[in-house]
Symmetry: D2
Subunit: 138 residues, 4 copies
């Protein structure tokens, strides 16, 4: 069971005029966490896309507890929590390294599709990929 950790340093471009990170940027951090989780699990998402398997989002959600700020060093924890047929859920936590404070937690729901974004029966068509997801679900 893989719970991957990704280090991120907050970019200036990610702040807004409130002086904190603009809320939608947490979703691109989740994406980085997902990319790292998959690499860690033994299948890079880059390679998956080359083989014609895409993972578009059905849903995204984030709860903001404390603001991330420019130049903060953060850790994103990523894990798979559900796998039902061709859909799966990934959950994330964003931690501030300086003091271990939980800044945000969120989730994304994905579907396996082909390159034309048509749902694909991954269990049947790509059992080796399905298996990697299955054995890593919490």
């Amino acid at each position: 069971m893989i719970c991957d950790s990704t280090q991120i340093r907050v970019r200036y471009s990610e702040t807004d005029q409130m002086g904190v990170v603009y809320h939608s940027n947490y979703y691109s951090w989740f994406d980085i966490g997902r990319t790292d989780w998959m690499r860690e699990a033994g299948m890079s998402y880059r390679d998956m896309e080359r083989r014609g398997i895409l993972l578009p989002l059905l849903e995204s959600h984030c709860v903001y507890l404390h603001s991330a700020k420019y130049d903060d060093q953060l850790t994103v924890h990523t894990r798979i929590t559900k796998l039902r047929g061709i859909r799966f859920t990934v959950e994330y936590e964003v931690i501030r390294d300086a003091d271990g404070l939980l800044l945000a937690r969120g989730s994304t729901v994905h579907v396996f599709t082909d390159a034309d974004l048509k749902p694909v029966n991954v269990k049947k068509k790509h059992p080796e990929i399905y298996e990697i997801f299955r054995k890593n679900v919490e």
Copy 2:
């Protein structure tokens, strides 16, 4: 009761290598919808911030039904659906103009704060602003 409509044309910079809009961009569209809703309701968010009232997010959520694509003309519908003390919820729908298809729907939860992002009792301190929200809640 205001249900504001905002026109958006999808930017090239908003697409990703799947050939559709990257999912986090829907949240900046929601933000535009909110800005327009507030202007329509009689208080620009720009002016609110100048008076020291900020509306940071506590939560964001989006369900993706169909992909938006480069150069698509879209309409974002925005409305306030809850107001509980110093928190309120805004809901959004993203429609493709060409055929009226609902592409996504989502919500954001906000809190009234001062310029230091400390929660503020808006009902007491800025009753005229609270009133605008109150009378527009569905």
Copy 3:
């Protein structure tokens, strides 16, 4: 000769913690100006891409004179200033509508390519597209 004008309202997501627009966002406004210019000239970039002609950038440049701020209403003026073989240059001005102040001016250099980003002799292969560019160069 087309000098297109595009209206833009500054998004909250485009600001940074200096309280003004983050500098790289001007380039996505230039992109919107370019998209509108092409539509105005009679060939939408969306359709061009579908026909397999892409316009990746070789170079970009921007001079920042005054800061754009959240909710500012701006106009981007776009025009083609050079066409040499398969390369062309587009120039942009960003004006603040409230007082006509020139906020920034910039340019991008593009090359005609096929869908694999290989340079393509557009004059020979797509003379009708080349002609639209040629007759609109200043």
Copy 4:
């Protein structure tokens, strides 16, 4: 003389529908390079801003030689090349780690300002900061 190196892995959110990195994202990489250069030189930009010294851009420029792609591991090399009064120029190179290929090179011109974005005579007001820049100019 500091020539800082920053490691970057390309994010999915940075790609566009051409299948490569959207051009304006190179500028946020330059920004990361600058942030790292300053930390390396002994003054974090975060601390500088807290002391009321800002470094807004007067100009930005980039030449794109080869496309960066999703999940590429890149190195940004950053160095200061000019310091004239209260303006300075930073130059950048973006290298693909896999094969050492130069993908892009660019520059940004900055001015020292106070928190209200008014130019400030840094040589006189903050000689210790000026000195760090002066001794690191190539």
